[in-house]
């Protein structure tokens, strides 16, 4: 399970290779093309191409029937019913290959999101470290140890109703630093990235919560006996600018990989 949130060396190397590219836009474009191609090929190999072709043709036939027999309402309604059934059949045929496609692409995207989802904290810019504890008593015991490059810019705020403490901090120099929080006789660290182009960012460190950790954390789990439940840093979201319009990399990837997929499916003669 840890492997899911801590990628293997090979995987990390591949991601690092992408990270060598300094432009997030370039990364998204290259990634979209590669993923578009791989997914189409994978879909082609894992699907029943003949059955999908037939299902799509049947759908088109019923669509044409609506047009050809437009003055015959029973035929139009019957064709509409067949279109719905045909769509169900088509989705059923697409389900198995989709499973093969979804799993690797999800794991890949989780990792890419570590690099492209947020920007690091700018030098001397304030940021918040939020710590959730399991019980209210731990709030009073919690203490924060900072490296010399990080300074506290305001006293911590205790939100008792939510078992939460918030520190306002600031980093003076580029780098990756560990913020140590002690509570209940134990200490736990949270990494924070200050400055840099495309560092691997983890917004939150969690105790338990496997699925949430897999999708949103790049750090190991907080020990189970720790009174601390989570530690998070509010990194700013990264917007990639295209023609003056900023958007999250996921949406850009979604659109570009679809376009690439459509192009490759035509070139490779694969039915989707």
């Amino acid at each position: 399970m840890t492997a899911l949130s801590n990628p293997t060396a090979g995987y990390a190397a591949a991601i690092a290779a992408f990270a060598l590219l300094t432009s997030p836009l370039a990364i998204v474009i290259v990634l979209s093309l590669v993923v578009g191609l791989l997914m189409v090929v994978l879909f082609g190999y894992t699907s029943d191409q003949k059955a999908i072709g037939i299902a799509k043709d049947q759908l088109k036939a019923h669509l044409l029937a609506v047009r050809l027999y437009r003055d015959q309402i029973p035929v139009v309604m019957g064709s509409y019913g067949k279109i719905l059934r045909g769509t169900g059949r088509y989705l059923k045929l697409a389900f198995k290959p989709l499973l093969y496609v979804i799993i690797p692409i999800t794991l890949l995207m989780v990792q890419v999101d570590r690099y492209l989802g947020q920007t690091p904290i700018a030098v001397n810019a304030p940021f918040l470290l939020t710590v959730h504890t399991a019980a209210g008593e731990a709030l009073n015991e919690a203490a924060l140890e900072l490296p010399p490059e990080i300074t506290m810019t305001a006293p911590p705020v205790h939100v008792v109703a939510e078992n939460q403490i918030v520190w306002r901090l600031s980093g003076a120099k580029d780098g990756k630093y560990a913020l140590r929080i002690s509570a209940g006789g134990q200490s736990v660290e949270k990494a924070v990235c200050i400055g840099g182009d495309l560092p691997r960012i983890s917004t939150i460190r969690l105790r338990g919560k496997f699925w949430e950790r897999m999708f949103s954390s790049a750090e190991s789990a907080i020990p189970g006996d720790s009174p601390i439940e989570s530690m998070s840093v509010n990194y700013p979201d990264r917007d990639i600018s295209v023609a003056g319009y900023g958007m999250n990399w996921i949406w850009m990837f979604f659109i570009l990989s679809m376009v690439a997929g459509f192009v490759f499916k035509e070139l490779l003669g694969i039915q989707i």
Partner: protein, 718 residues
């Protein structure tokens, strides 16, 4: 589908099943980001399917919302279309060439229970055919209700009076007039022109004008398709992708310089390192001048031990055993500059050892991507292709030439013919489901082709089957009639008492055991002269001396006079024409075959006496009616003059109907009784119009039949 379910079950089985299931559920149901992670695959699936639903919904909504207005409009324009109709629906099944005598014989033998039921409950009559009794002529008369003088179809071929060469009588296809020249390329600019040569108005146009919908499937001479209210798939006379009426391709490693007489081309297969390479010839290159035909290359890897070969044709790969057909394969002929002709063809692996031989059907126009219109609306052929898969579109789809030339054997031909027939049946039943009111008509060619090719087995001593003992003759024609009877039974299950079911044929059938070359007779009797020193002439009158020729024959039944002022090199003075016609009629009528003593010609008909209308000038001058057992020789049809007048017909094409029309009437079966004793095919159109309560156009030659009683629904025989 079973396989898919099995895979899903397998995926969810085993030790990691729970974790996998949770992971998948998590991936699918975790919010926004995870949905986006589903990536292009999911995107395609979702977008494609919802696009289909969206379009369907929009169109259904439009159709529903506008339906009352359209109905109101129609009502105001024509009142109630079915208000005076005797039946809600008419279903006409055309069984090309079904013979009344054979049908009667097989009914008496108990082979055709459903046809017998129609006979007993409704009508069974001989249906008088046209002069001549040829399918394009008779079906044109069927649909227009007029004689050939008004629809202009007298044969498959017509004669160009300037060149004495034949041309297709039903349609004229001309490429775009303008071309743009860029270097070696000459890019056509504009549309291909397809001109219908058949005149007259099919009766489904009259029905459409009255608001009555029609589904018309594969009726001959409906190419190019014309606009009307209904759907139509063109039949006989649709060309192949080369523009011919069907050119098969025979690829072989056997060295031979022989050319097929007609209908096919021989293409060499090159064998190298265990791989065989060859090609399928396509249409002439439309963008490069003098570049010849465009070709589609293919290769096969024989596995002699398992008697099969792996084919690669374009992007398609498939394996065939010896004696097996492929599915329809997409054939794309790329001419350059982005011009691609789209066709479909089937491969048949004939032999693998010691030689490799592959037969390829004529390249049909791809119905899912038609380069020429083969249906009305154009989307109808696409609709059928999407619904049922690719299907034969060529007018003469059953490759009789390949069987004649021994490229296909009997079984291979039958497999091909019945494959096409099954496609046609699927189309018919879809049309029956979609046409609950109006006209539904479908013509099946299988009956014609199989009788042409297997009549030899019906007789004891047919020249084309003398090598097979009579006791071993297969019952191909009996099986055919039984199969058609079962089809009628299935149609009966789909109809009620408000549907009129008619089964008709355009002509009957007789043996074709002896060939007669009328050109040879004309030559030997001084009506046709050859060039000095010649005793025979090649194809299309190559060695005929027109300056001394008074008469010639071309096509199946037409005899032409070489008239001064009409033919380019005419010599017969118009004042002598009537006398010459009478002279030829007298000389040919009752002509006896000296070898058998049988009458080879039982009637010679002067065109002026049998045709009337605006197009009679295009007809032959005389129609030759051969006796039973005789027909125009293969050479005579192609304008060849031989030294022999009579010869045995030893080709598989052993039955025919291009004889004296009085000897080959068609059939009429119907589910309701008509009182006419001698109905004719020309009467069908007026009868249908009358039954739908429409006025008959004045130019009709046919007379509507009178219904005796409207009977209860006919049900299939148990």
């Amino acid at each position: 589908m079973k396989r898919l379910l099995h895979c899903e079950r397998r995926l969810f089985a085993g030790g990691g099943a729970h974790a996998t299931r949770v992971l998948l559920i998590a991936l699918i149901f975790l919010p926004a980001l995870a949905h986006a992670y589903a990536g292009p695959g999911a995107g395609f699936a979702v977008l494609s399917s919802f696009w289909a639903i969206f379009v369907a919904f929009l169109y259904s909504f439009y159709a529903l919302m506008t339906w009352p207005f359209r109905q109101l409009f129609r009502f105001l324009r024509r009142r109630n279309a079915y208000g005076k109709a005797t039946f809600e629906r008419a279903v006409i099944l055309g069984f090309d060439g079904m013979d009344p005598e054979l049908a009667d014989r097989f009914m008496k033998e108990g082979r055709l229970p459903n046809l017998a039921k129609l006979r007993d409950k409704g009508t069974f009559r001989k249906l008088r055919t046209t002069f001549p009794a040829i399918s394009p002529v008779a079906w044109s008369t069927f649909m227009t209700g007029v004689n050939p003088g008004k629809h202009n179809i007298y044969d498959f071929l017509a004669c160009d009076r300037n060149s004495y060469l034949p041309y297709l009588s039903s349609a004229e296809i001309k490429g775009p007039k303008r071309h743009i020249k860029i270097g070696k390329y000459s890019i056509p600019f504009g549309k291909t022109e397809i001109k219908a040569m058949r005149k007259g108005t099919p009766f489904w146009h009259w029905l459409g004008d009255a608001g009555i919908f029609s589904s018309v499937i594969r009726v001959p001479v409906t190419f190019p398709p014309e606009k009307f209210q209904g759907v139509l798939l063109s039949g006989m006379c649709v060309p192949d992708l080369k523009g011919s009426q069907g050119t098969f391709c025979f690829c072989t490693t056997r060295a031979s310089n022989d050319k097929f007489r007609e209908g096919g081309v021989r293409v060499p297969i090159e064998r190298k390192n265990g791989v065989c390479r060859s090609y399928v010839p396509g249409p002439d290159n439309p963008v490069k001048e003098n570049a010849g035909e465009v070709r589609m290359e293919f290769e096969l890897k024989p596995d002699v031990g398992s008697k099969q070969a792996r084919f690669t044709v374009g992007s398609e790969k498939f394996t065939l055993k010896v004696g097996e057909y492929s599915e329809w394969i997409t054939a794309e002929f790329k001419a350059g500059m982005g011009f691609t002709a789209h066709g479909i063809c089937r491969f048949y692996l004939k032999e693998l050892s010691p030689e490799v031989e592959v037969y390829v059907t004529p390249v049909n126009i791809d119905p899912g991507h038609p380069d020429l219109p083969i249906s009305h609306p154009v989307t109808y052929s696409i609709y059928l292709a999407k619904l049922f898969g690719p299907y034969a579109t060529l007018g003469l789809a059953e490759d009789t030439w390949a069987l004649n030339e021994h490229v296909l054997d009997d079984d291979a031909f039958l497999a091909q013919a019945y494959g096409n027939h099954e496609d046609r049946e699927r189309m018919l039943f879809d049309a029956l489901d979609k046409t609950k009111q109006g006209l539904c008509t479908c013509v099946f060619d299988t009956t014609d082709r199989i009788q042409h090719m297997f009549w030899r087995y019906l007789e004891e001593d047919h020249p084309a089957a003398r090598d097979v003992p009579h006791s071993e003759h297969p019952q191909v024609i009996q099986d055919l009639y039984e199969r058609m009877d079962r089809l009628i039974g299935r149609v009966m299950e789909k109809i009620d008492e408000d549907t009129l079911l008619m089964v008709i044929s355009d002509h009957g059938f007789k043996s074709f055991a002896r060939c007669m070359n009328v050109n040879a007779w004309l030559h030997q009797n001084g009506y046709l002269a050859l060039k000095e020193g010649k005793t025979e002439s090649g194809d299309w009158f190559e060695d005929v001396d027109w300056s001394r020729t008074r008469a010639y024959t071309m096509g199946l039944n037409g005899l032409y006079l070489n008239i001064k002022g009409r033919e380019k090199q005419g010599i017969v003075d118009p004042s002598e024409v009537e006398a010459l016609k009478a002279e030829l009629q007298k000389a040919l009528n009752g002509l006896v075959d000296p070898a058998s003593g049988a009458v080879s010609i039982t009637g010679v008909f002067i065109a002026d006496n049998v045709y009337r209308g605006p197009y009679t000038e295009n007809s032959p001058d005389l129609i030759v009616g051969y006796g039973a057992g005789y027909r125009a020789s293969w050479d005579s049809v192609m304008g060849k003059v031989t030294s022999q007048i009579f010869e045995d017909n030893i080709k598989a094409w052993s039955g025919d109907h291009c004889i004296d029309p009085r000897l080959v009437p068609g059939v009429l079966f119907s589910s309701h009784k008509f009182i006419e004793e001698k109905p004719a095919i020309v009467d069908v159109a007026p009868t249908i119009l009358k039954l739908f309560g429409l006025a008959l156009p004045a130019h009709f030659d046919g007379k509507p039949w009178t219904l005796a009683t409207k009977a209860a629904a006919v049900t299939p025989a148990s």
